[in-house]
């Protein structure tokens, strides 16, 4: 079963950490990525996302696209990155994510990725 791990942080959260905390976080992150890539459970590289203010939001209504900058909203928590896991169960996926240093400083949400197939009933 595949899961996406969504990392949520407050704006400027990383910058707010002390240098020692940042160093610890980076080296823990390396260990984390290596361990679960080698176990065959972490798929690909994952993505760190730029600040939401650098993005665009698109809505097409009645065939007309409306594009806005941002969002700039003062969101307490914003999506800062994501990666994909392939784990035996949500319990195992949770156990893996517990080791993510981002979970220690901020929050990581684990959600199952839906399968297109399924069992008939």
């Amino acid at each position: 079963m595949k899961y996406v791990a969504l990392v949520y942080t407050n704006p400027g959260a990383f910058e707010a950490l002390s240098q020692a905390e940042r160093d610890a976080m980076m080296s823990e992150a390396d260990v984390y990525l290596k361990e679960f890539t080698e176990s065959g459970e972490l798929l690909g590289e994952g993505f760190a996302l730029a600040d939401p203010s650098t993005g665009r939001t698109v809505r097409v209504r009645n065939g007309l696209p409306a594009v806005t900058d941002g969002p700039f909203a003062e969101a307490k928590e914003q999506l800062a990155g994501l990666y994909v896991l392939d784990a035996e169960s949500i319990e195992r996926a949770t156990e893996i994510v517990t080791r993510d240093p981002a979970a220690r400083f901020w929050a990581v949400e684990v959600r199952p990725i839906m399968d297109t197939g399924g069992a008939e009933m």
């Binding site: 890539t37 065959g40 798929l43 990725i113 297109t116 197939g117 069992a119 009933m121």
Partner: protein, 412 residues
């Protein structure tokens, strides 16, 4: 054609190499290279007279090259470190002398499904070492990056090496338990493919044919084992319905509404014969019982002809020899079909407290069906909705939402 031939030889060639030279990890790479070389050369130059011998010769050459360079590297390091006297490199025996006819495929099945390996590694290694599939093919089937499958395989090989797992059949005393794992690996490969629907999932669907091919192979090697026959029968009797189980748009068709004309008659015939024979002469086992249940469904010309009392008896047996909440769930459906929905719903009650199932969409889905049968439309609708929220399958969610909506619009 060439590909089928290669995949059939793959485990035999690997078995020969490992038996002679050990080094399962390197031998497996060497066989993959030999398979690749053959896939490139044979279609152009024709299939050699002794294809198995050709593959063994090429694989042995790759393996000995690899071992020599390993040895050379080690000697360089050793000399540099301690000026130790050199050891003699043993020259491998002439591959031409490898006797034909010996077959270590069964040993390989056991090795790839060794309990020391994680289930994901067992699946990947079985498909590569026994099935002869390339890493990229396995990755496409499981919809993961190639590097992930490569990691799972190399990790499995490291574990085999580190745990000094011997290349022999398991001792008689643990044979049955170890066979259970081998069969479970094949069952998981089958299911991975079976739940795939149309479109981008098609490659995953090929896993069912591969699982069936491998199950046939185990049956060839263990013709008297009732559970091996039972698993093969279960796969055939399930896969027989494949063409009828989804519509062109990928949506699911429940068993009762499937166009039975589209079921695969020869698979049904073969599966029924297999399970009938196994039940008559082997100790009862869970795969045989599940196959027998599938056979009763498949033998009904119309859904209304289904012999539910017989299915109920089979589920009672299954619940006795292999109890688990999924069996209870299906048992409840059979009870409802024979004794009425209320009796089925009563069986579901205790499952709410079962942690393995309480949050599972199948419990809500079955409850919804039984409530609908009982005529409690409002409760059925909310159970369908709960199930739809809980499933992680898009096709199932669409199906469950549709059932819920149908009850809403009919209610007016």
């Amino acid at each position: 054609m060439v590909e089928d031939l290669l995949r059939q030889f793959a485990p035999q060639v690997l078995g020969s190499l490992v038996r002679r030279y050990g080094h399962f990890d390197l031998a497996e790479d060497a066989v993959q290279e030999a398979l690749l070389a053959a896939a490139l050369q044979w279609p152009e130059q024709g299939i050699p007279e002794n294809p198995r011998g050709w593959l063994i010769t090429v694989a042995v050459r790759r393996l000995t090259d690899e071992l020599r360079s390993d040895e050379a590297r080690r000697r360089r390091e050793e000399r540099a470190a301690a000026e130790l006297p050199r050891e003699h490199v043993e020259t491998p025996p002439d591959p031409e002398q490898v006797p034909a006819g010996e077959d270590d495929t069964l040993t390989l099945f056991f090795l790839c499904a060794h309990p020391a390996l994680s289930p994901a590694s067992q699946l990947a290694l079985t498909l590569r070492a026994v099935g002869g599939l390339a890493t990229a093919e396995i990755a496409r089937a499981f919809l993961v990056p190639d590097a992930t499958i490569a990691q799972r395989i190399s990790r499995a090989k490291q574990q085999i090496k580190a745990s000094h797992i011997p290349f022999t059949l398991p001792a008689e005393s643990e044979r049955a338990e170890r066979l259970t794992v081998v069969l479970h690996v094949l069952y998981l490969i089958f299911n991975e493919g079976y739940t795939a629907s149309s479109g981008p999932d098609l490659q995953r669907g090929e896993l069912t044919s591969e699982a069936i091919r491998l199950a046939r192979e185990v049956r060839r090697l263990l013709p008297d084992d009732g559970e091996v026959a039972g698993l093969l029968a279960l796969m055939l009797l399930t896969d027989a319905r494949r063409a009828a189980r989804t519509r062109a748009d990928g949506s699911l068709v429940p068993l009762a509404e499937q166009d039975r004309e589209r079921w695969n008659g020869s698979y049904i015939e073969e599966g029924v014969a297999l399970v009938t024979d196994a039940l008559a002469r082997s100790p009862l086992g869970p795969y045989q019982l599940q196959a027998a249940i599938a056979a009763v469904h498949d033998e009904a010309a119309q859904a209304a002809d289904t012999d539910w009392p017989q299915i109920l008896v089979l589920y009672e047996l299954l619940e006795r020899i292999s109890p688990n909440p999924m069996v209870t769930l299906n048992h409840a459906v059979a009870v409802a079909m024979v004794k009425g929905p209320q009796a089925g719903l009563e069986l579901l009650g205790p499952l709410d407290d079962d942690r393995r199932l309480a949050e599972h969409h199948r419990l809500d889905a079955v409850r919804a069906h039984l409530l609908e049968m009982a005529g409690d439309r409002a409760a059925a609708r909310s159970s369908y909705r709960r199930a739809a929220r809980r499933t992680t399958s898009l096709a199932e969610r669409r199906y469950l939402e549709a059932r819920a909506n149908r009850l809403t619009s009919d209610a007016r």
